[in-house]
Amino acid sequence: MPFLYRRARLFRMQGRMTDNDATPAISVRSLTKTYGRLVAVKNLSLEVRRGETVGFLGLNGAGKTTTIRILLDLLRPSSGRCFILGYDCQTEGLEARSHVGYLPGEMGLYGDLTGFELLDLMAGLGRRRVESHYRNELKRRLELEDRDLRRKLREYSTGMKRKLGIIQAFQHDPPLLMLDEPTEGLDPLMQESFYELLANLKRRGRTVFMSSHVLSEVERVCDRIALLRDGELVLLATVEEVRELAPRRVRVSFYEDVIPDEALPQAIEFIEKSPRAWTLEARGQLGSLIHALGRLPVADLIIEEPKLEDVLKSYYRKGD
């Protein structure tokens, strides 16, 4: 009977993993977590599609780590439910977590373990086989040598611990990676290697859900952004959509003196103006501005790239 039960369970699990690729990698429904009067996460609903890289942003204490820890069943929600690849994170936590690689924000390690011992322990606790060639590939990309991995963790620098954390999260090649501040403590070259690693995962259809404070990083590697403020989701959009919300600086210089034109579109704001040079801030489409400038003696026109950072910072500040 236990054998039959296991077979039935296996079929059920396989069915859930393969029959419906539309099942989101992560689904959070009306999730709330309170600690007494403090509301850490407030009625959060969110879906991460398979193969996406989603940046989970917010100031310190916004509820990012709490959400990730609920998804891993380290914390129990006050209300609401969440799912990983269709598995309920609380009632089917083992199945859910067997498909996840997790990099915590702060790695709690025992100094008397070696790097290899930690990697082997984490590999042994999983259900997915760790392929040695893939682990070696990770070691090579992150420049962590075998001799480093034979050393005790107490001798590791912050950066080395981070690299080890990345390897332990990636080594079983899970379909979903949850990364909490993944590049914290990595030097710029290692950050570059890490981004390449993420790009590689993306090509292979893996899903990445990562929290970060580094907005340039998010802009570079993420498809979508979810932004939390005081436990509430205040923005969920693609990077492109967010970029469109960003104001763009337009610098115009003239070959003869110009009086500021009253007829400029309303969405344009003057930052600086002199008879021969204007600095403007434009939102949305630029067609009407170009049209208005066409009537003036323009010598040069520089349109700066919209900065995602500006939009995100404005979302952060709205709570002030």
Binding site: R69, P104, M107, L109, Y110, L113, L121, G124, L125, Q168
Partner: protein
């Protein structure tokens, strides 16, 4: 199950040096205590000691004193000497509070991010406690046997194998009791220091309560709540059996602690 064994192996590996060192220390202490007993026996000093004991002390301890002032009694002392008991209870508490240590360091986040059920964390700590208790008792008995083989005087009454096994079993049950208590405390604590301190303070308080209860009648009325009240090695040395209800009480406390630990740990936020 495979994951749990891997985790247990990892935990044993981490504490093996401490456990091994303590085991060797206890075995050495047993050999030493046999040597001391043997020398007292050979010099005929047990009778001299007995003659020096004041009458009121003799009255207080009764037959127990005669048991103590013998080679057999001295050898048996190694199984319930205060330092031995304290050391072993401390070790058991340290091992049972491993889960709170892993929460404190953040290592638990890594462990439980893998497909590992929470009950394995408690099972692992319990297995660690049980394996260590068995190892420690085995080392103590090995020390006793080695000491007797090398230094045991031919003209003295040696403790029987039955007595040694009973003393070891009785000590093991007491240690399991405190292991259960410490496990329950650790299952709700966030810091190992706090868990260890609470369990340690409980052990010390209840020991003193029992100690005072034995000498001062008013304290006797509350001394029954102390687990040490149900630990009676002297009765064994005297040749009596351990009362069955004593064993049940100690095992009951251990079992209650273990059940509380499983339930509390499965429900808590990590």
């Amino acid at each position: 199950m495979k994951s749990a064994l891997i985790l247990l192996g990892h935990s044993i590996k981490r504490v093996r040096a401490l456990v091994l060192a303590m085991g060797l220390l206890l075995a050495g202490f047993q050999i030493l205590i046999v040597l001391v007993g043997s020398e007292i026996q050979t010099s005929g000093s047990f009778n001299q000691f007995a003659n020096l004991v004041p009458p009121f002390v003799r009255q207080m301890f009764g037959q127990m004193l005669d048991v103590f002032l013998s080679f057999k009694g001295i050898v048996a002392l190694g199984y319930f000497h205060l330092a031995i008991m304290g050391g072993l209870i401390g070790l058991v508490i340290a091992l049972a509070t491993v889960p709170s240590s892993e929460i404190e360091t953040g290592f638990m986040d890594l462990l439980l991010s893998r497909p590992l059920a929470r009950y394995w964390i408690i099972t692992r700590a319990l297995a660690l406690v049980v394996v260590t208790i068995i190892f420690m008792l085995a080392m103590i008995m090995l020390g006793t046997w080695t000491g007797l083989m090398i230094f045991g005087p031919a003209d003295a009454e040696w403790p029987t194998i039955g007595l040694i096994l009973s003393l070891a079993l009785n000590l093991g049950i007491l240690l399991l009791c405190w292991g259960g208590v410490a496990l329950a405390v650790a299952s709700v604590a966030r810091r190992r220091g706090a868990a260890g301190a609470i369990a340690g303070m409980l052990a010390l308080t209840t020991f003193l309560l029992d100690y005072i209860g034995r000498a001062w009648e008013p304290a006797e009325t509350v001394a029954w709540i102390s687990p040490f009240r149900y630990y009676s090695p002297l009765d064994l040395v005297r040749g009596a059996y351990i009362p069955g209800h004593h064993v049940f009480v100690l095992l009951g406390i251990a079992l209650t602690g273990i059940v509380v630990a499983y339930i509390a740990f499965s429900r808590r936020d990590i």
